[in-house]
Symmetry: C2
Subunit: 329 residues, 2 copies
């Protein structure tokens, strides 16, 4: 069996730990297609927060408390940059992380595509699955906000880290998406997948930038594999992060059903065949999509692998056989 | 009074501490013209060892034990780069140092010349004198060596740090010197100087790359200011570093007289009006150059300032008045 997972960073990384465990138990191959919309060049370093979160988490080197970055991280470089007055100073640039960024930036500047760079970095981390950026092209999520009485577009990282999303926010723009092509290997992975899973990542700023690569979205929506999403909302709140702020910006209800409808049914030009929600949200209906309610808290690897098993089960063998289908509105 | 000092890194930095002390006592202005031949790009970072040694030393942040780099330095980035297998792994890239290189590289990549970048970095360090790179252009010292039975040119840093100069060495090449122009401000400083001092730095790999910028050499050799050098050799040995290995490669005698003759008298197309040697080397004769023997050990700021005072005194008011002139051969 071949599993493709569309995923963002921290929550998606935790989900992937469960996918990997499940895949090992059944002998499946996994390809993670990772969001690059968060990527940003700071202090001359190309920083890929979601790729790094996935890589460090699967490599057993992520900080379990903070959720992002490396365990045992130190902050000398960041403190020194601040002493020079170098901006931005609000970004959490750890020393260990800096080495990752240096290797990546050096390879990118030498002409290697991000997918090849990611593979090279993964030789150290051995994540146990294939990691691909959604695209090798520049694709950055910018956010149109009002700051100091002025409307302007800022990088997603500035919105997320500096402002904690707490500024008047109008919309998200995926700069470069129009021209971006899927990274090497992405279309092949999706085309040969037995199932495509959408991780319980932020739908607006983690999954949407992946799908903003039009050829990638078409490969998923029009491909042979059933597509099952896992809700990032449990009982009206995001499992982690600021999906609520992001969904509010789009005018989307912060609920399992709201996000399911945002993705939409394949039959209606959307993405989903199946939608996995938490027991709490058992009543969530997504028109044209088979939903199933199971425990969605990723408390540990076993619980998460069980979730993944439910998602895979929901996908097939024939998606049409699945038990409950949301009513069309 | 205006003093210009041609200088390399560690030894030159220590000398400059004395120059600064002397200059403060007499109200003089100092411009240090610093070697860039050691500069190298590693892991995407533009590293300027001599500029940094001078900056950190004058800024009170140099490591007094190691001689180079920052006091209280940590090595997380370097260890992590090694874990990735990133080469070169033999270079001492400290975490604090990395921040300096990030700021520098970012500014260079944005188009600022090295002289402007150096001035920006010095806003933090307040070295108490003007620091200028010899050139804003690329000028790198490479070394023609035999390694593993093969003759090849390696970067000076590889020769110095990786091999400790302990490989068959044929010659030093200043790559880019033909096209390099003096950095902004250098010719003005030399042209308006009352005296030009040559620090007791390595003549072959610290001072020669500066003078390899032909317009700079002409400004010194043909300029109005008297030129006084300070011997880096005391009693047949370098005060520090590997000047002996370098001089041997050129077939130059490792002595105060040998280095003085290497620089040569201005009247003979060389550089020097005066040559300050250690008491031990009181007999050193350099044809056409006034020599003076004084204690040259830079044991502390006061001793070094006293050396500088002697050098300045040797320079004028009329160089022709100086007490002892080497015999022409």
């Amino acid at each position: 069996m071949r599993i493709v997972v569309l995923t963002g960073g921290i929550g998606g990384a935790r989900f992937l730990v469960g996918v990997r465990a499940y895949a090992r138990s059944v002998g499946a191959e996994v390809t993670a297609v990772v969001n690059v919309g968060d990527d940003v060049r700071m202090h001359g370093l190309q920083i890929c927060p979601d790729l790094d979160s996935v890589m460090y988490t699967l490599g057993g080197a992520a900080d379990p408390e903070r959720g992002w970055g490396r365990v045992g991280e130190t902050w000398v470089v960041k403190e020194e940059l601040a002493r020079y007055g170098a901006e931005p100073s609000w970004f959490g640039l750890g020393d260990k992380d800096t080495a990752t960024h240096l290797v990546r930036t050096t390879m990118l500047n030498a002409g290697y595509p991000l997918s090849a760079v990611t593979a090279a970095l993964c030789e150290r981390w051995q994540p146990g699955l294939a990691m691909l950026p959604a695209t090798d092209d520049r694709l950055e999520t910018h956010v149109v906000v009002d700051v100091d009485g002025e409307r302007k577009a800022i990088h997603f990282q500035e919105w997320w880290v500096r402002y904690r999303g707490d500024v008047p926010t109008h919309r998200f723009v995926f700069v470069g998406a129009d021209a971006a092509k899927p990274a090497a290997g992405v279309l092949e992975a999706i085309g040969s997948a037995d199932v495509v899973l959408i991780a319980p990542s932020n739908p607006v700023v983690s999954i949407a930038p992946i799908l903003a690569v039009s050829a990638l979205r078409e490969a998923v929506a029009g491909g042979p594999a059933p597509v099952v999403g896992v809700s990032p909302i449990i009982g009206g709140s995001p499992v982690r992060g600021m999906a609520d702020r992001c969904l509010a910006t789009l005018g989307v209800e912060v609920s399992a059903a709201g996000v399911g409808r945002l993705y939409g049914a394949r039959a209606d030009g959307g993405l989903l065949d199946g939608w996995l929600v938490d027991d709490t949200d058992a009543g969530a209906a997504v028109p044209g999509v088979t939903t199933r309610a199971v425990p969605l808290w990723m408390t540990d690897e076993t619980a998460t692998a069980k979730m993944v098993e439910e998602a895979i089960d929901l996908a097939g063998p024939r998606t049409g056989d699945a038990e409950r289908r949301g009513e069309a509105e």
